[in-house]
Symmetry: C2
Subunit: 340 residues, 2 copies
Amino acid sequence: MVGYKEVVPRRPMTRRVTLEEVARAAGVSRATVSRVVNGVASVDENIRHAVEEAISDTGYLPNLAARSLVTRRADAVALVLPDEDRVLGDPFFGRVVRGVMTVTAPAGLHLVLTTTGVGTGEQVVSDLSRGRLDGVILIHTSRNDPLPGRLVDGHHPVVLSARPPSPLPITYVDVHQISGAALAAQHLRHVGRTRLATIAGPQDTPAGQDRLRGFLAAAGTGTPWADGDFTMAGGETAMTRLLADHPGVDGVFVASDLMARGALPVLRRAGRRVPEDVAVVGFDDSSAALDCDPPLTTVRQPTEDMAAEMARLLVRQIEHPDTPVAAVIFQPTLVVRHST
Amino acid sequence: MVGYKEVVPRRPMTRRVTLEEVARAAGVSRATVSRVVNGVASVDENIRHAVEEAISDTGYLPNLAARSLVTRRADAVALVLPDEDRVLGDPFFGRVVRGVMTVTAPAGLHLVLTTTGVGTGEQVVSDLSRGRLDGVILIHTSRNDPLPGRLVDGHHPVVLSARPPSPLPITYVDVHQISGAALAAQHLRHVGRTRLATIAGPQDTPAGQDRLRGFLAAAGTGTPWADGDFTMAGGETAMTRLLADHPGVDGVFVASDLMARGALPVLRRAGRRVPEDVAVVGFDDSSAALDCDPPLTTVRQPTEDMAAEMARLLVRQIEHPDTPVAAVIFQPTLVVRHST
DNA sequence: TTGTAAGCGTTATCAG
DNA sequence: CTGATAACGCTTACAA
């Protein structure tokens, strides 16, 4: 690193204008100015006008810390992400942020970024308690994360990005996993496949369970399956196993794109062409789907819409603290690429 | 979207503990409690102890809005991103966030995410003025973005992610573009290429200028070049032109990965194999480099370090408002993949 | 070293 | 409809 400095001193800050001064300038009381600023209806038209003039004359801007002190609102929410390296770089994350911001930005809410890490849970809870955060959106919390439970216990506004692993009275948004898996089965049938199989996700996660259940329900309960762990390596192993036990398979639903990424090379090495010999459908529509060769047909969740909905549910909780817990389920869609 | 609600009412919030109550519990004044909380040295050891006990007994947490009101600090900084769709999904962004958070998180600073959009500039300036934000990190501001100038004029703490297009007394972090381009030239020479050429970036941007200048200086001033606009399409056009004018070229430095992404197919269509016939080096080490076929050798900036340094420079400005403007320049490195 | 008291800039209650 | 006035919870001179 090469550093150099240019010496350009800064001028002093311009002083801040307060309510008091605007009031003086307009010849009214602070209370009245406050009313005008907050758009309270019951203000005489002439007075309102005079105050507005004084406001723009003085360049007044309300001090939000002061407001926050009395309203007990921080006007800030946190987006808590798993701190695995990949998530921040995944397009999925970009979609979440965009979706959330479509509702937070117009509402004047600050979106604070946090990642799950040692002590982050503490931080978030403490920020909530200290009035520095009004609520949190939790993305992909892991099975044994204590945070959701603590937030519920503390009665803090919170929304999850999926059904919680263990039953908890908490608001969440999710995709209808079962329908997604059924979509995959129907599509495989539709392209003429008859000997179906599936690589399932871990059976101790809600998504893993639902996708398997959904696929079996649509493809037939006798459909062979092998379970993976949502990783590339797991997909590889499962595919190998599946192929050994059921060499005649011609259509497989892999419960995550990442696992599919690991499964495809196994098929190729086994002399199966995709999609000619075996058609493959993934799940998630993550970047892994595009990195596949051939590009993967996959089940997609409407991420931006879901993120926006999370934000809306959060705002509702913040504004009405006794909003009942809710779950909003979205329908997934199929993105057809070249693996089927 | 399919929605359903479970009706589980919430219990009322637990009441907040104030300094006052801790003081009462410890039998001291609020001032003393405040001193203990803020770690002021001049507190009697016994009293400090009693106060700490009272704090944990009562479960006291300072109200940050109140503190903010008197200290005039928001303990929050914004990360302003260009709102082009691609940036949020690019791994580059993830690195920036991680780098920035390595310094903001331990400092207890909230990282607020914002994108450049209609009116966002206003928002940021206003948040700064209203004491809701202490400073701003601006990523990739475009040539005619008025925001940097406004922040400088308003004497707000700010750091840019690159040298500003027009001279401005503003603190920034950058990579040594000229060295990066020279690195590319040396590498091409090193792998035996003698007929070099380059596809330059737009010549009205600092990066575009420096990368061209650096390459010409290292490869020879007579080196042929065509200019692109940092887009895929621009890279395609430029490569076509270059190949028409200089069919014998065997090594080309493309000033951005995205342009390289557009240039590679042109080479292939012209019957040139990469890297056998023509070696190609890109710049940025963005996701586009990996999407290239073959994966692109490229010049990489130490993004996380740079982001962390931006955060440090920002914190310094916040803590010492008359810190002189500075520029910190990092050395790039070459990431060798299969295009050379 | 500790306590008293004066703010910090709003909002909100309650008379008028 | 408007204006005093009392919070909101904390920091910080200044005094003791």
